[in-house]
């Protein structure tokens, strides 16, 4: 079998859902970075501005980060 034949065989047998899984995982990985950045920004702003609502907002951003990590793990397991 020539390299061209094996390449064509690879293209024909290629499972599109594997590519979709890689793209979803990459997107969710980027989302975790984004959620982490949000947490840092919120902590910075909460340090700058003292207020009653700081604690609930900090907790919400932490929940947001944990939720994004859980979705990443869920995608890793079920996809």
């Amino acid at each position: 079998m020539t390299p061209i034949d094996s390449f064509i065989k690879f293209i024909v047998n290629f499972n599109i859902w594997i590519l979709a899984k890689i793209l979803v995982m990459a997107a969710l990985g980027l989302y975790i970075l984004f959620a982490f950045l949000v947490l840092q920004e919120v902590n910075l702003m909460a340090r700058t501005l003292k207020g009653v609502f700081n604690l609930p907002i900090k907790i919400t951003s932490l929940i947001h980060l944990i939720f994004s990590i859980l979705v990443f793990i869920l995608a890793l397991v079920i996809l």
Partner: protein, 142 residues
């Protein structure tokens, strides 16, 4: 609110049926993740969009998005004019409007968007400017 219940449409219109069921689940979960992110982004943009007035300077923090923040500050002795524009039924009824602080600094106008009691804000800033000018004349340094 409509966005929250949008995945229920999938029961009537099978738009995601071309996907395997595991991808359908992840799509719905990702949809809710995006909604959470959008709501949180809008809330924080409003909550952290603050104006700080001290006896030395005015600081304007514009939390444009979750990853982009713009902070500008101007010393009170650089302020040339403080005005506010009011008008409209709701603004008049609830006493809120935009306050404009004209400066001689690089940032020419600092805009306080939709602040409550704009007349009091303008009065307070003007008092602080007079106080700052007096301190300058008397040579007091803080």
């Amino acid at each position: 609110m409509l966005m929250v219940f949008l995945p229920l449409i999938l029961k009537v219109l099978p738009l995601l049926n071309f996907m395997p069921s595991r991808f359908q689940i992840i799509t719905v979960v990702m949809w809710y993740l995006l909604i959470l992110s959008f709501v949180f982004d809008r809330f924080l943009s409003w909550f952290f969009n603050v104006y700080i007035v001290t006896d030395e300077r005015i600081i304007d923090v514009d939390f444009i998005s979750l990853v982009y923040r713009e902070t500008s500050q101007v010393a009170l002795d650089k302020i040339q004019d403080v005005t506010y524009k009011s008008g409209g039924l709701l603004k008049g009824l609830f006493d809120y409007s935009d306050v404009f602080v004209q400066t001689a600094a690089e940032i020419q106008t600092i805009e306080f968007e939709l602040v409550p009691h704009p007349a009091i804000v303008v009065k307070m800033i003007n008092q602080l400017i007079i106080q700052e000018e007096q301190e300058k004349i008397e040579g007091r340094v803080r």
